[in-house]
Amino acid sequence: MKIVVQTEPFDLTAEVVALYRDHPGVGAVASFLGIARDRSDGEEVARMTLEHYPGMTERALAQIVDEARARWDLIDVTVIHRVGELRPTDPIVLVAVAAAHRGEAFAACAFIMDYLKTRAPFWKKERTAAGERWVDARESDDLAAARWTERKAQG
């Protein structure tokens, strides 16, 4: 399990390969890359700044990954979240999940993203032509996270 918060970019191939290279039982790696967009709520975004709560961030991410490992049979998981200043098309977050089969890998990857969006202490501030603004939390993210409390286990 690898959980990192960093300002630097990361190497997608290196991170994914590390999940299966030494585990010949891995048949599936589902991964998610979150990317900074150039528009948000209809306005053009020139750049954004990601703030976090050092210490709690890593702790919250580890708890989310532990919960995923308790629900599904996973072989390894990597979560990398960037902080600091980012521009459109910069990767923000990588969640990569290795498992024997694709059902577990897909479900756990989506689960970790949904929980990360609602439980990990990161905050985005966007710079638009109108100035800076803190991004509001989305109800759709709360709904996405809530669906996992209804269906407890799935392959």
Binding site: M56, V93, K117, R119, A120, F122, W123
Partner: protein, 85 residues
């Protein structure tokens, strides 16, 4: 009781500080009591922490509700709903 208070994002900017060491008066026993005590400062404190405003609280880096009892040297954080990912 002495606690460490942390503020993040919109609240950090509104309060003009990211952290403070606070000596809590007798009677401030729970996280809810602490929030009342902060609101009693008035101004941005009363405004940002008013009932109905969206904010979250954590004690020692775990999400916590107003019923949680505080202990000496606790790290208490107050922040807006998260928007990472």
């Amino acid at each position: 009781m002495k606690v460490r208070l942390l503020y993040f994002a919109r609240l950090r900017e509104a309060f003009g500080t990211g952290q403070e060491a606070a000596e809590l008066p007798a009677g401030v026993a729970t996280l809810g009591d602490l929030l009342d005590w902060l609101r009693a400062r008035g101004g941005v404190w009363a405004e940002q922490l008013a009932p109905g405003r969206a904010y979250r609280t954590a004690v020692n880096q775990d999400m916590a509700g107003p019923e949680v009892r505080l202990q000496e040297d606790d790290e208490v954080a107050i922040f807006p709903p998260v928007t990472g990912g």
